[in-house]
């Protein structure tokens, strides 16, 4: 992993189109970044993104259609909790 030192107000440029600015360091623990990136480049907090990745993998199956076809269920239309 590349490691760079930056002060508040300084920035990192990735490629031609992504800029990350260190905006603030709070109590020496929390860093606020400003991120400029094209709209088609998704930017997420890592832990949230990893949660969604894991849930998508858990929810996905080549057998999803088989489950939906209801070979083994009777209606699948009830939303009652």
């Amino acid at each position: 992993m590349m490691v760079l030192r930056r002060k508040v107000g300084e920035a990192i440029r990735i490629n031609d189109n992504i800029k990350i600015v260190v905006q603030e360091v709070q109590n020496g623990k929390v860093v606020r970044f400003g991120i400029e990136a094209p709209a088609d480049i998704p930017v997420h907090r890592l832990e949230i993104f990893e949660q969604i990745q894991a849930e998508n993998r858990a929810a996905s199956s080549a057998d999803a259609l088989g489950w939906l076809k209801g070979d083994s269920h009777d209606s699948g239309t009830s939303h009652d909790e």
Partner: protein, 149 residues
Amino acid sequence: MIQAQVTMSSEQLNNHQSKPGQEFVFPQGIAGFPDATRFGFIYEGIGDMVCMQSIEQPDAAFVLTPWDVERLGQPPKLNVEQCKSLALKDASEVMWMLVLNPFADQEWVTANLKAPIALSESSRRGFQLIRPESEHELRFRWMPQPKRK
């Protein structure tokens, strides 16, 4: 490789119908499946659920159901850049879907409220909106597991 059969018809899907052979494009892929960018929709006449399956990567197949305003309130609002990514003229054109997880819980089919799917029928584009706020449940109990024959 699956056919991009796109036919979603039920009352809750607003009798959405699309011509076979037309798929939805997810330019950013789906989290966990970055190479899956083209999806077909297959409706099997089971309530308001539909299968969304990647054309390039058939194991990326999901059960989706429409966002339910009565249960969940209004769906998320898209910002200008998100509207652009769907090539939308108007955010009201978006059809919101939830990814169901029928496999995680023996008693319940769960719905991912943290990352709903936005679809534009007019541009045939879609993306998964990731909502960082902690109040959105990853495994919301959506419906009991259907009874098995």
